[in-house]
Structure formats: C-alpha cells, structure tokens
Amino acid sequence: MSLPRLASLLFILVLLLTACTPASPATPEAPTAALPEPTAAPTEVAATETVDPSISGKLVIYSGRSEPLIQPVIDAFKTEYPEVEVLLKAGSNSEIANALIEEQANTQADLFITTELFTVQSLSQQGIFQPYRPAAADQLPAEFVDPNNNWIGLTLRARVIMYNTDLVAPEDLPTSIFDLTDPKWKGKIAAAGSTNGSMQAQIAAMRQLLGEEETEAWLQGLLDNDVTFFGGHTDVRKAVGTGEFALGLVNHYYYHLQLDEGSKVGVIYPDQGDGQLGLITNATAVAVVKGAQNVSAAQAFVDFLVSEQGQKIFAEQNYEYPLLPGVPLHEGVQPLESFRLADVNIAEAALDSDATFDLMEKLELP
C-alpha cells in the first residue's frame, strides 16, 4: 500500500482529533456577572440558602427524567455553583435503578432523579439512599417527603389525554381513560410503552385502585384497540400534533410543549365524574445516593431543586406543578385544585412493583 496515502490518512485523523479537542475547561459558562449573593435579596424568607463557595468538584446525576426536562435546572444550578461540574446520565427509571442496585458496592452516582415515586420508594427500601432533609422540606406537602428523608418530591404531573383538534370533534371527546378502549378509537391512539416510568406508574396506581383484573382488562382493551406504544412521550405528543394519531395518553406538560410548537391540540383531564377514578397524578423526586462521593454538592443540588428558583424552572419551562407552595403555575396550566385526584398509596404500590412488571410482561405490552 502506498505509504503517502497512509500518511495522509493519519494526518487527517490527527487533524480531526486536534480539531475536536474539547474547548479548554478554563472557560466555564461566562461568569454571568457573578450573580449577587442571594442573601442580599430583600425577601424576609430565608428559603434560598447562601451559596457555599467550598462546594465544588464533580456531581454525578443519574436521571430517569429525559434530558431536555432536566437540563434547564442543571444549567441554572451551574450558574449558581460554577465550581461544580455536573455529569448527567439519563435513561429510563428502571434502567437507572438497575444500575444503582448493581453499583451499591461501587457507588458512582451522587443523586438520583426520577419521574415517579414507586422507584425511589422501592430503592429506598433496599437501602440505596442516604437521608437528607432540606430546609424547604417542611413547606412541601407531607406525603411527598419520605418519612425517613430518603427522598423528596419535586413536582407533580397529571396523566391526561391530549387530542388533535382537527381530528376530534368536541362532542366526541373521551372523558375517561376507559373510553380509550372504545372501538371507535381503534388505531387512533398513541401512548408510551412498558419501559416508560410514567406509564409503569400509571399501571401500578391502577392496580392499587382497581385491582389486577380491571387493570388487565383495560390494558388488554388498549392492545385490542391497536394503540401504538412509543418509547417516550415526546414521540406521542409529536404524533398527535402532526395528526398521525387522534389521541395520546401523556403527562399533562407534553400537551403544553406540543401546543408551544403551534400544533392544534387540546387536553382532557379525565375521570372527573361521580364514581370515576379521578385524575391519576405522580410526582418526580430526588434522592441522595448512599456512598455518594460529593455529598455537599448533592445536597446543594437538592436544596436548589426545592428552592423557589428551582421550582420556578420546573413550572415555567416544563409546565409542571411545583410542590413548593406559592410558586405560580405557568400561564394556561389548569390548577390541580380544580380536579378530583385519584388517591394512590405510593408506599403500598411500590411494594408491589414486581406484580406491575409481571402484568406488562404477561400482556406483552410493547
């Protein structure tokens, strides 16, 4: 083989390699006018703690929440704590949970962020977390703070039905998730599949509220109705937005995100009638991992997530329901107080997580 050619290939490679060398880490996020010390704020509430300059180093976050939904709050945290290097690994809840269990003797993560409470509850029972109670915990509703302080709730999301307004007439709208098994919607519904945490949580909640049989019948009804199951909700919302499907079973904020893109979509908060199930909600949560390398940064991050500033980001950028009282909802988000909520016992449902997986597997839910 001609050596000049080899040499030129190597040269190109070297060029590529050097061209792609990461920008020197010496330029972290233009110091944004060294944000004024929060203590100087004239508010009487000491909700926002003083930024401790000694907090630095790597902070490893495992997130069951998809990256676009967690990135804004990480960015905001980094402007507060420029010395902390945040390393994120996002995946599905149970995939990450499996990693945490596997790594128990060789802990890698400092923090775990999840899309639903069953996983944190279950992991907390297995001793994966260490307790931490941020000052703001007292202000959160008690049911969203673990009694042992192993995890703390962040935001609430409602399971809703979004629809394409071009494809569904107002009088035809479903009012219950059980309407989704009506043959008139055959092939017109999209949902997230069995690997999605919110879907798993919905099934776990329904098993607790309705029992195994009715839940199975509902899922079988969805399957018989040729519901298309996607890997995640972004696919679902986009498919409903473009009119590929008439209805989508999603978390409420996916409707708002799609509306933001200019699609003709509407939303139904289902099961509000007498004798009906009520609206199924679930909370996102955060927990500090036992054996975390950087506990101080992890705790600072938890503080930030439940602070007014952190909660505002979830409300404003993600359209979620913040758990910290007094943080306003994004305009257009219907307050949860106006709905009847399904009453799920999280701790109890979490004990039963294997049965939920068994059910999904038995029905071969995609």
Partner: protein
Amino acid sequence: MNRSDAPMPPALVSPLQRLRAASNRLTTRSASPTLLAGLAGLVALFLVVPLVYIFLRAVGADGEAWQRLLQARLWKLLGNTLLLMLAVTGGALVTGASMAWLTERSDLPGRKYFRWMFALPLAIPAYIGGIVHLALLRPRGGMLPRLLENLLGQPVYTPSPLGFWGAAFILILFTFPYVYLLSGAAFRSQHASLEEAARMLGYRPLRTFFSVTLPAMRPGLLAGALLVALDILAEYGTVALLRYETFSSAIFVQLSGRYDRSAAAVLSGVLVGLAVIILWAELRSQGQARFTQMESSWRPAPTIRLGKWRIPALLVAAGVTFTSLLVPVGVLATWSIQAVLDPDTLRSVLHSGSMGFSNFAWNSLWTSFLAALLAITLSVPVALFSVRHPSRISRFIARVCQVGYAIPGVVIALSLVLLVNRTLPFLYATPFIVVIAYVLRHMPQAVRASEAALNQVSPTLEEAARVSGRTPVQALLQVTFPLILPGLLAGGALVFLTSLKELPATLLLRPAGFDTLAVRVWMWANDGFYVQAAPAALFLVLISAVPLSFLLRREQIFK
C-alpha cells in the same frame, strides 16, 4: 466435509499456498514459540472470559427465570430473530450480488461511480438510516405521506417502515455492501475460461450464469451472507427504533424492566448460542473462500452488454443508491442546516447533556482510536503464532479470537457490567470500559487483518535476516513489521470504523457525562428531536467515511 479431507485440484492451489506450506516447514523448526504462544493464549483468554461468564450466568439462572421466558417470550423471540435474519440475509445477497454483477460484469453506465456508491453506505450506521427513513415514511406522520396528501388532497397509502418489513428493508439497505464487496471481488477474479467452456458446451447465457458463474462465487457469497447474519443478530438500534422485537432489543427491555438480571442473562445466553453456530459456519466458509484465489493464467471474464436492459438496470442501481446513500445523507444534511440556522436548536446541539458537541465528538474519536490501537497490538501475537507456527493449538487460539463476532454489543455490555463491577471496580464507570467493549467486540477484524497481512510476507525474508545475524525479534521488527504495517493499519481502520458506529454497548457502559456521537444521536432521535440529532449523525457518517474510503481503496474492485 472438512476441507482438508477433500483433495484440492492441483490447478486451484495458489502459488501463495504452496509458498506458505513451504515456509511453514521452515519456521516451525526455527524459533521457540513458547513466549508467543503464551501471549496469544492470554489474548484469547481475555476475549473469551466475558462470553464464558454470561454463559455461566445464563445456565446458573434460577429455573423460574427460564420457565417464565420459555412460556412467554423465548419462542417468539427466536422466531422473530431468525425470520429477520433470513429475510435480511436473503435480501442483502440478492441486492449485493446483483449490484456487483452490474458494476463488475456488465456495461452499466457510470459503474465506476456506482462502485463507490454501493460501498459507502457502510459509513452509515443502520439505525441512523432507520431514523431518516422513519421520519420520511412514517404512516400518516411521515414527510412523504404528508407531502402526497397535500399534493393529492387525500391520504395516500405508503409502505410503513415499522415492524418486520420496515426493519428488514432498512437492514438490507445498510448491510448489502458487505455482500457487494465480497461478491464484487469474486466476479472480478472469475476465470474467463469457466464461462467460455460453458458457452462452448452450448449453454445459453442465463444458464451459464446460474450453472457456472454463480456456483463459482459460492464462497464469496456465503462469507458475505454469514457476516450479514451475525450483524443482524447483534443489531439493536434499528430494531428498537422500528419496533420489531429481537433478542438484542428484548435484552435491553429486560435491563430497563424489573430489578432482575437473570432474565437478561438467559436471553443473552441463548443469543450467544445462536451466534456461535453461525460463527462456526462462518469460520468454515472463511477457509473455503481461498478457492477463488487467482492464478497466473487468469484473464478477466468479458463484460456483458446490457443492450435494451441498460436503462432499467440503471434505474434499479440508481434506486438502490438513492435509498441507501443519497436520501440518508441528503436528509441529514438538510436537517443539519436547519439545526444550524435555528439558534435554539443550535444551542442545544452545541451544549447538551453534560457537555457540548466537541466533547462527544472527541469521545467518539479517542475511544475508537484507542480501541483500534489496542486491538491491532493484541492481534499481532495471535496472528504471528497462528501463521508462523501452525498447529492445532495455534489454530484453536486464532478461532477463539473470532468469538467477538458472536457476542452482540448488548451482551458484552451486560457481561462487562456484572464482571468488571465485581472484580475490577476501579475500571467500572470509566471510559476505558467502553474501550474494552470495543476491543472485545471488534478484535476478530483485527486478527483477520493481521493474519492476512502476515500471510502475504514470505517467512524466507525473516530467515534471510536471521542468517545475516539478526535475532528473531530484530528480524520481526526490521523486516516483517514494515511489510505488514499497511495490513495492520487496514485492520485498525476497520476497528476504528466499527467502534465509531457502536451503539448498544456504549449506551449501557458509558459513565455519567460521557457521551459519544452515536449515543447522542440515539438519545436525541429517541426523544423525537431529529433536527438536533442530525449534525452529530452527519458528522459521524463523514468521519466514518475516512477510514472506510481508505479500506475500500485496498479492495480489489477499487484498484
């Protein structure tokens, strides 16, 4: 059946083989191979440990896991996987061989360009091709159905890229180049005399083709088919994307399901068993491929005039190139432009995850580069031992080093997670575990390249160096090494290319904050952000094209 049983017709024994046989007689006497044997053995051990481990896990899984899987999933998965494998292998064979015939044997217009066009899809990972075709063709939501609906005013049926047919279609598009290259070389090297003899016997052209031309290509076609089959067993991204469940994707689902790894281990064990069978067939066919080697009396077979079939043939060739190369690259380029023009998207492209674009591009490059370097270095003792000291043991070791082909990325990852976390915790969750996975998976390519390179160098050269007073090591470094270097680099380029494209093992093994281009593309596309994913995907395809074109220039049909 064993090829050593069947006496080879003397005319077909190549001069090279005779040379090799002679040289073997020489060298087995000379150097003591103990050190070499030890090194080669260590390499083989390193490669085989994860496989054995996952096998033991599968066998040791409690009966309940086996029973649950046997009842519900195992047979369906087996059926799904085999069906896809057969369909894709068949499709790739037909497409690859017919395109090779068109460029090598017919007077297809522009065949010089088509040669490149048919080989370049190897730079496009199948899942990226799948992402593009999915966005284009998705029923109702895809760009094409919507365009047609707007033009014609009513919904038009378009074929769906989802499910079995979609997965088969996409995988054929991006695996047929393997068959194309191998059968192209076989068409090239065919004896004109074979077909001439058939024609003199009064065979019509078509009959000549099916009874002489095609059978003579059997080894090349078989080798291509088996490579494709192994590829399909290991494929994760495409089948997951197009929602067709095979073993690889089911293992992934198991890993993100219940808190129990035994089901994943069981599925992995079955998958590896399946792959080992195919690998065994592949290794046998490797040996037989030498029947196509050229002789000194070789004359190229004559070009066949297409006549009135020129235009249809041209259209078919253009269609294949269009769907497998131009559409993916064109769509990615369009999306990339969109991404760059939109400030919000651009920001999320350049600054996403824990790091920015340059960071994960750099990660892709250095891990693949290191993997290539390691694989080639490790392959040298194995190749030296098996080529220079042929024996039952050295042959066994060389075979064992092919085992990576039989361990799909997801299985390697599962095995490494369990194994490394328990035995070498300091390596766990570092980028080096990703590199190790690449080496394990792609080592066979390096070993084959090194063996091929060494086979080309006559050991008499080393002998001469020894006679003139060099030590065996000096002879190796000063004489052999410079001669095999291009071959080693080709092996390295191949490992580099396949590591760049690797997805499932990287997804499972990467430490927090460590993304590669392939992972990034996958994460974005999985969330439906195709435009964000496009620049990374395009960049991945472009840098893959660099080692690929280097490799292609070494191929017979590009000389």
